[in-house]
Symmetry: C2
């Protein structure tokens, strides 16, 4: 008994003392202040009653107590019956109606839906949270707490909320060893060293975050599945994780390997039409459901990027999906079959080949052949989470198949949580895109929700990949993507602005300047990132065969992976027209296809995704393509520098730790944006031969290249790809320490010195900067960027502001290598921008 | 070379990332904002020149660079000569005059003094920091930085500052094992396990804090000296510490044991008149000065509280002081001979005995017999750092002897850093007190500074006892005492308000509400503490034979320690009059003595220190003594509760960590103030038999005694002293867990529950509180209070606000003992005050 109390009291104590680290995310329940506090103290009744007695319902009641205690400083009484005083009453519709026969409703709630309603009995006021099921009660409680946190009135409620779609899931690409594929928030909260973690507190906290958004399912291991997940020894681990998430109404799912019957099942085949394989999947499902009766189901990636699949036996994806689906069906389980299937050994020399066609080509012919508990899980675009893609044509093509849209919360191609990119506007662009599947009015959101084709299951899957870091995602501002995914999955009709503002207020409080700045950064951040990494539908111009992070314009070309942009001396873009190209555009319904097919109507934002055009092609704003590429990169890089300035104006208005973390992140991003800007613009200048009309590209009057400095010990090296270093060269030190120096020849004044150096992940080099013999800065290259090389991923900027320079001053950088890191330098820029 | 750079860069990096922990104290150099930042950016020249090349002068230059970088974001150029542009020029008067012949001064600076002066040459503006010595240059730099931090103009300076007295020292009562006698800020920054710490960075940081105040000496070991400090093996340790403090102009001193010639010197005597002893001290001094040529000297506590002294051989204190003084004189060293000498085996039954007489009786006859490098170090009052004492009569009695006043920064009798008590007003009361030593106009400050008797040495010694905690003193607000001591030692004419406000602005920034609240708490805090611990000159009514912390009204009585207050059934106070008492008052000069001697003129604040009066004696405000004792205790306890409320209004305006620490400290203090209030008032009620006119004492309508609750497992115990627990009783648990419960019989409403429990230091008991079956709070008794017993020192209050109570509710406390801590409880109070 007492031990249970002390588990609870752990929560209570934690509430009191925790600093703002981001771990509580948007559920901080920060104490209200002033008139707002007084108002809620008057409005809040003293008692709370949970009419249902499930674990979820009791959790809902505790969450309400916790939230009210945090925000209003009052501990609600947990009563067992309706008291003779005002109260908050939680319950399913059935239970509420028994207690309040006077409560009339004309419209039925959907599963997980809820209503908040004020009922008066004479002088007494009851605040009702009624729901279709226990999960809905929990969601209603979170919504009531949100209202308090956002300062909305709660004394006269009459509100109904139902989810837009039944499937609102997250996937975690966590490996059983505790690493996370494309995870940027630390190690796995679920797994370590082949088993579930001993301490699953963070899983429970994650369940709370998910429940607050209405997310009701979570796949807990990588879609590139380790077959061992289906070993009997792992079942208790999965069950423990399910136990941690269950009170939050989150069902667990697992990703499975299609070869499992053979690799761990002892069969000599995994042919989906083999009866032994059918039986194996059934008996495996039975085994797992005995331990976890409410398992959500399986996720399956087959015949993709090296994963085995039905093609091994000449079977179809429907054969593969259905053999698993039938094993799950008896238990009410779903199978999410990933539509991300393509050939990554395509012949790049064939201009008719097109990876973008793959999902449609593979799945369209199978429409109607999938069992009803199969959901085809389709990435938002036809390629792979690029900075901008059109909606996948497959959404509009399946009429008798359950669909879910797969959105990537973790920022694989959008800065890997080192760049602030708020993805909600991007997702909304796809969700709101009308596929004209049955005439007008069939946006992607309605197709995946199954409301058009009246499919029983479907909805939204977000690849979240949270980790053990306090920030969950490796960047405080990136939390808004998890939040925004959940809000959209519940209601995709919400505006990006509403979501950004709600998130900011819940996460950082009510200061209007803080709200304006943070929401402003978030809402412009996608366009900003696109501007410096891949405008006009070029996709993210990164190292697509490597880390998917730093700039590498040609990484997409001349290989079988098919992310080609086809830039050459004359023009750029992938011709996907029906008339002269790959015919991809023909996969869209006619109304959509005709818009994309014609240069006159194709949106400029997707121009180079759909068409190959000369650099001199004129866009709607009157600029040529090449000049737009130059301009957008300079705009994007300048925008991030402005973010830093905007953020710095919030010092003292945001808690110290998060202020410092975000400031450092934005300043780093500003340096990286400059690397991208210079690399992409120089690459296109060299390739096109057309100079920048504003004469910026290739001309850096404030810059001194490292290779042109006086060097002691440093040697000059060529960088690959050449565009990722200024002038294509850098200097590196293979001695115990080296020096690079030069004399300042500018005017007298206060200056900002920017040192562009390389921070690889195979050592911790040290640098120091002296001016006229005086040490003015020193730093360690100790970040964990995803490269061991000197390239665009390791290129990092150190900003030293407020230096008094005089003509003739020696500027001297000393570097001390460490292990594989050779204290490399690209250049120094001397400007006035931070003064 | 590079390694030196990286030591420096450690500083640079630290400046960027450190959160507000208190470790930077008032030297945070927080970045200025808005117009203020712009103004200084325009006013600050780009260059700084240190004309002198000593370690202190170079340190001064670096400190200026550091401060300007932190506050203004600009890195000054360290030039080697006067440049042809505006500059800040640092140097001794001689050096400055050589560079600026046009600089005229008519008044000489004292040692350590400095001036700030703007000199114009055509369009060029030079900001001069000129000083009598290098130390003064450093002080001038700190003063210039203070001006920037406080927003004062720096473009037209003309200011001279000289110290009030040559001696401005701190003593540290650090033991060689790393513990600190009466230290509340953690372990020693100097010592660990018998030697100087390997890492002396905190010593250097401490030196910086001291230098910023103009403090120029530091005794680094306990006055209750371990003889081993004089062993040859310790000399390198002392030298390392001196090296760390030297760049800050702080000379090291050591405390020595007078028996050393015998205990560690191999002699069979320590008779100060024995030639071998004389020679031993001389040769020991020579040995130490060879390693530390600028050692400040020795501190000596002899014939006091068990320390050996000259009395062993029938010699005088002058004999003792002089034998050491002569050994030091050749090296320019000083000896601080402590005046804190008294008999702690006095017969308490003799009403003529009086410990307060001791310092005068011991030292007055020796006036003129001390060598010129002896300083008699006299505590501010005649007893021992009590919450209020009169100025020691010895200050006015020595005419041919150097004096220093010993003030205690560490709060031995004033709450041990667990209570906020700003001591500057108390110190000022003594420093400004006119001793009438030579007619009017001889306040204590002028006597100790030697300005009256023209003594060569003298001044101010503060017992600081900082430790390794980030807060230095164990309480963020207590830092103001170290700061205030330093400011007063430089200029005792400053007002307490000025010091409190400067400290607050430097330490917490410029928010006017923050300034008002913090300065308000500080300035009233001494009176508040006095009000609940010992008003009217009673002294601190604590456990004076034990921890000097919690309440124990009779601890002073019926023993030989002589802190008697002589309270009995009829009256209270120590009769120190000449007419009928101990004659102590006769030690003052006539003008002072006559004021104290007469009830008509004796200040009420010191009434019971000077006189024994009946409880019904009427004070100047018309109250009787007994009613004043009751009222002041209620006022004091209420004031601390108000501090908590005032502080809570600053949430979000003070950095998180310090906000939380101070909030917790003040809330704890509020609980302790209530313990003191109840203990003292009940003790006097019981002793005097006179009830409180307001009927508060002994009547607690909101209180339920633990001993009257329903107990499961708990047993009732009597507490010693009885007054430190409500009703004299508590309950404790000798089983694995126990329960105490009762039913609430008050009205319906939101209530605050206060649980008074005992937090001893010999275990970590756990408690939980349930109301009507609902867990509403749980906590661990994990503080390190200075007692293993159930008493006033361990009595602690847990405040649980915002609880909805209904008549008949069961209130239930579960306790789980741990080791020696038995989850004891005193009472529960249910009120509305936090609602």
């Amino acid at each position: 008994m007492l031990s249970k109390l002390f588990v609870l009291f752990g929560f209570i104590a934690a509430d009191c003392v925790q600093a703002e680290t981001g771990r509580q995310a948007w559920l901080r329940y920060a104490e209200l202040k002033g008139p707002s506090l007084q108002q809620y103290r008057e409005a809040i009744p003293a008692a709370v009653i949970a009419l249902n007695k499930s674990a979820i319902a009791e959790n809902a009641q505790q969450e309400l107590v916790r939230g009210v205690r945090g925000m209003i400083g009052r501990t609600l009484r947990e009563e067992s019956g309706i008291p003779k005083e005002g109260a908050i009453v939680l319950g399913t519709e059935v239970a509420i109606r028994a207690a309040f026969p006077e409560w009339q409703t004309d419209e039925a709630l959907k599963p997980d839906g809820y209503c908040l309603k004020t009922i008066r009995r004479g002088q007494l006021r009851y605040t009702i949270v009624a729901a279709q099921n226990d999960r809905g009660v929990l969601y209603g409680v979170f919504h009531l707490l949100d209202k308090i946190a956002l300062g909305e009135a709660i004394d006269s409620l009459d509100e109904r909320q139902s989810p837009y779609a039944p499937v609102r899931w997250v996937n975690q690409w966590d490996n059983l060893d505790g690493s996370i594929e494309r995870g940027y928030g630390g190690r796995s909260i679920f797994w370590d060293d082949g088993h579930a973690r001993a301490d699953l507190n963070r899983v429970s906290e994650y369940g709370r975050l998910l429940a607050s958004l209405g997310i009701n399912g979570c796949a807990i291991n990588n879609v590139n599945a380790d077959p061992r997940i289906l070993l009997p020894a792992l079942v208790p681990d999965i069950a423990r994780i399910a136990d941690a998430l269950r009170p939050w109404g989150v069902r667990v799912a697992i990703s499975v390997d299609f070869g499992s019957p053979k690799t761990i099942g002892g069969l000599d085949t995994f042919d989906p039409l083999d009866a032994r394989v059918t039986e194996w999947w059934k008996s495996k499902a039975d085994e797992i459901y005995r331990a976890i009766p409410d398992l959500g189901g399986f996720v399956l990636k087959a015949d993709s990027e090296g994963r085995v699949g039905p093609s091994a036996y000449g079977r179809t994806h429907a054969d593969a999906a259905n053999v698993v689906a039938r094993a799950l069906a008896l238990h009410g389980g779903l199978i999410f079959y990933r539509g991300f299937v393509y050939d990554h050994h395509m012949d790049w020399r064939n201009f008719k080949n097109d990876r973008a066609r793959a999902a449609y080509d593979n799945f369209r012919p199978l429409d109607g052949k999938f069992d009803t508990n199969v959901i085809v899980q389709i990435k938002n675009g036809p390629i792979d989470f690029q900075v901008r893609e059109p909606a996948s044509p497959l959404f509009g093509a399946l009429e008798r198949t359950n669909e879910a849209i797969e959105l990537q919360i973790t920022q694989e191609y959008t800065g890997q949580a080192r760049h602030t990119v708020f993805l909600v506007p991007m997702w909304k662009a796809t969700l709101d895109f009308d596929m004209h599947a049955r005439g007008d009015g069939t946006p992607v959101k309605s197709l995946v929700a199954g409301t058009i084709s009246e499919r029983p299951a479907g909805g939204f899957v977000g690849v979240a990949n949270v980790g053990l870091d306090d920030s969950w995602l490796g960047n405080q501002l990136s939390q808004a993507n998890l939040y925004g995914f959940g809000r959209l999955a519940w209601n995709p009709n919400l505006s990006a602005q509403r979501i950004a503002e709600d998130w900011t207020r819940l996460t950082f409080g009510d200061d209007p300047d803080v709200l304006k700045t943070i929401a402003g950064i978030q809402l412009s951040s996608w366009r900003t990132y696109e501007n410096y990494t891949g405008p006009l539908g070029l996709q993210t111009l990164t190292d697509i065969t490597g880390n998917h992070y730093g700039v590498n314009v040609e990484a997409s070309e001349r290989n079988g992976w098919g992310q080609w942009h086809r830039a050459d001396a004359n023009g750029v873009g992938m011709d996907r027209t029906v008339a002269t190209g790959t015919g991809y555009i023909g996969q869209y319904r006619p109304a959509v296809a005709s818009m994309f097919e014609s240069l006159a109507t194709c949106p400029d934002d997707l121009l180079l995704f759909m068409h190959h055009v000369p650099y001199t092609h004129v866009l709607r704003d009157g600029k040529t393509v090449i000049q737009y590429i130059y301009d957008s990169h300079y705009e994007g890089a300048a925008a991030v520098r402005q973010y830093v300035r905007d953020w710095e104006a919030l010092q003292g208005r945001v808690d110290e730790q998060r202020y410092s973390e975000i400031r450092a992140q934005l300043e780093y991003q500003a340096g990286q944006a400059q690397v991208w800007r210079d690399a992409v613009t120089n690459w296109f200048w060299k390739t096109s031969g057309i100079p920048d009309a504003q004469n910026r590209v290739g001309h850096y009057p404030d810059r001194v290249e490292a290779e042109s400095m006086q060097l002691q010990g440093y040697e000059i090296v060529s960088i690959v790809p050449w565009e990722s270093a200024s002038g294509g060269k850098a200097i590196q030190c293979e001695q115990s320490q080296c020096v690079a120096s030069f004399r300042y020849d500018g005017a007298t004044g206060w200056r900002t010195i920017r040192v562009q150096y390389f921070d690889q992940n195979n050592g911790v080099a040290h640098y120091s900067l002296s001016v006229a013999g005086e040490l003015v800065d020193a730093w360690a290259a100790n970040d964990g960027l995803p490269t061991q090389k000197l390239d665009g991923s390791s290129s990092t900027q150190r900003v030293i502001a407020g230096i008094a320079l005089r003509p003739g001053d020696e500027i001297r950088i000393e570097g001390v290598p460490d292990q594989g890191e050779q204290a490399a330098l690209d250049y120094v820029e001397i400007g006035t921008d931070r003064e």
